[in-house]
Amino acid sequence: MDIDHLLDIFYTEAFERLDDLERGLVQLEVDPGNAEILDEVFRAAHTLKGSSGLAGLNAISKMAHVMEDLLDEVRQGTRPFTKDLSSLLLEATDILKQIVQTHAETRKESLPSGFAPTLKLLAEAAGQELGENGASGGDGDSARDAALYRISLRFKRELFETGQDPLLLFYELAELGELVDVHCHTEELPGLSELDPTQLFLSWDLLLRSTVDEDAVRGVFVFVQYDGEIDVRRVEEKENENAAVLGVSAEEPEEQQTVSEQATTVAETRTRPDVAEKFPRPEKAEAPGAPRRPSGNAVLRTNTVRVRTEKLDRMVDLSGEVAIQLGQLEAALGGSVLQDNGVRALLEALRRTVSGLQSEALSLRMVPVEESLTRFTRLVRDAAVEAGKEVELIVEGGETELDRTLLAELSDPIKHLLRNAVDHGVEPPEERRRLGKPLPARVWLRAYERAGRVFLEIEDDGRGLNLGKIRQRARELGLDASGNKEMLAVLFKPGFSTANRVTNLSGRGVGLDVVKTSVEKIGGHISVFTEEGKGTRFRISLPLTLAVLDGLLVRLGSGLCVLPLQAVSETVAWFSLEGVEIDQRRLVHYRGRFVPVVWLHDLPGFQSLQVERPLVGVLVQGDGHELFLPVDEIVGSQQVVVKSLEKNWKRVPGVTGATVLGDGSVALILDVSGIERLALQDLAPRSEEGTSVQVATN
């Protein structure tokens, strides 16, 4: 393991911890009494301090240390969690992010201009003076009012299973003050042949001289407190005992400190030299034999691996290939070979393995949206502060899974819509009070899956879109704003904005059209629902383009198509349906309602999907309508791998992609919502789509 590799691990983890910090702090603002979040935030600062120290990024370590101190006081209940404190900590988090980013790019720890003032503010808040060596409670003045602690550590043997490493605790103790003596007990160590390296046989007695109080020393062991007997006791410093115990004088510079090897109690054992070697402050421990460990938590994380997404894509492709080739092999083997029971059993086993492989490969790319969505709490918080509003972001449906590449593409559109919700949707606090609306205002970020699509909704309980203003602005721009539908379509036109005020992101007239374009780029589409005084909801509907799909394989003339099973409500014998014609539109009467019929060959570009003798009507659920699609035959239902048409060609309306069937032939995967749009382009909106509609408020 080279240093670069370890640094990479550090960067990844540091960013994760910084995200934890950020998210936690914002959550705490809403819910300051939440001990769980507070603990998490504290742990994040704590881990960051340790790992950055190990990685040699001392500035980060320094700042994280003060943050940790402040957070610890909040945890102890001796300091209130105020908005000011939160802002300061968030600012510090931003600065730390910058430092990590710069270090990741340049391998240099360069400090942004905000670093020194922020650190100063933090230190002032913590009531600390920063010595040159940075650690609070300075090592330098340990001679003055330092106390001596005797620490006895008897961990249980299974300690390593929890991912803890005692060495890291020693590093941390060393930061608190001066480790005067370390004694390692090796009596229980079995002979080499019986030694189980996953068990801990060592125990320690340590002597620490530090200015911090007993609780702070105990704090070091907060994560291992249930993992053994840990005893911290303050002992009186007697002059003559000092001489015997300390070995080095307190004035000596710390890098020259070595752990005294003179054992005071047990004579036949000795201090482990490798521990002693690493005992100077971590940043000095760069001996080649001592690879740096990012932190204790990294040990816990060894069961996750970071993989390039291209590799995952390749995996999905290849596993799909294997399944197809297996089908082809079976066909080529022919009947006589398949008569053999042995061969049949083998093929069956192989098929199971392959399908397992395929579904595993596919699942690799799907991630729950939770983490990505909760990231936006910070954005909403900042936007609210900037706009002088009180807003709470409620994230729902975090367990919904979405292809990670889609998720990445959506980040900007979501940002934009949230920003809009805070800036334009939500009323200022005084107005809300006057209207008797709840404070803080609520903004929902919601994800759910329905009918083979993933939906993301951004909703606010604000004032709703000002339809009058939109109409007026549309007229000024010479756009058609006759009906509600046209008018709302205008919202997504380039250059359209009714905002009086320009903020960071929203209100520059480069808003919703950009959102629309980026959503459509990944095969999604966006609609808006609003009601004056009640709120606005933007809904992004996404295909599962990159996912596997449970599909209904249907034949239309000579062509095979796949309908996403989630969009299919029912299949009905075609002759049993009673047709009517209203305004030249074909409808069928089914279970008390009229359902439009869409012949695929009527759609522009689909002419060759000529239905010959329809046997079955497939009832599908589009975005706002139900449709009947007559098909010649239902071939079967099967799981298909969605392949992009866009990669080698372009996006085709009404088509999600294509898939390769078991025999190597290609079937198109139809996009029911797209077909609905193609077919109903001229149909007046029946329900929600693009009209003023009641917004469901929770």
């Binding site: 492709d317 290939e321 990669k647 080698n648 060609w649 372009k650 085709v652 390769v660 198109l668």
Partner: protein, 163 residues
């Protein structure tokens, strides 16, 4: 698969996109009675004809899609694209798989001919083919016949707007 034909790319070959010079090596094929060529760097491989599955949409020279080793390729009819009437493919019909700008397209041609060595020859550009939207980059004489050198990008979907 015997019909698959790949040729080693050579480092010193000029790109066909730079239309003034002919490519050093060219894959030639027949569409109707005319011989056409494509720079070898734009040709990924040549595969046997297989019936494309229908895919909707335009332009009219888009025949549908075929499956090639896990990838879905659009099948493009060179006859229609180059202004010949569409017809049922001959037994000798093959797809020339083009690769350009990260996209792969299977170009259906009537027959594959051979790979010809050209070196640096200036392309002859009579009036009418010097337009931006012409699929033909220019003409070159090879032995006793005239080869129309095609632009690979003319068979990609982006080119349809220029037509």
């Amino acid at each position: 698969m015997g019909e698959s034909m790949r040729t080693e790319k050579e480092a010193d070959v000029k790109k066909v996109g730079e239309v003034d010079l002919s490519p050093a090596q060219m894959v030639t094929f027949r569409v109707d009675e005319q011989v056409y060529g494509l720079g070898i760097l734009d040709v990924h491989e040549v595969i046997q004809y297989r019936r494309p599955e229908f895919a909707p949409g335009d332009p009219p020279w888009m025949l549908g899609v075929i499956h090639l080793r896990g990838e879905i390729l659009p099948a493009v009819d060179a006859r229609v694209r180059l202004g010949f009437p569409q017809k049922v493919p001959d037994p000798g019909a093959v797809y020339v798989v083009l690769e350009k700008n990260g996209q792969r397209v299977a170009l259906l041609v009537d027959a594959i001919l051979d790979v010809v060595q050209l070196g640096s020859v200036e392309l002859d550009k009579p009036p009418g083919v010097d337009r931006e939207d012409s699929p033909v980059a220019g003409f070159v004489r090879v032995k006793d016949r005239t080869v129309a050198v095609l632009k690979a990008e003319a068979f990609l979907p982006a080119a349809e707007r220029a037509l």
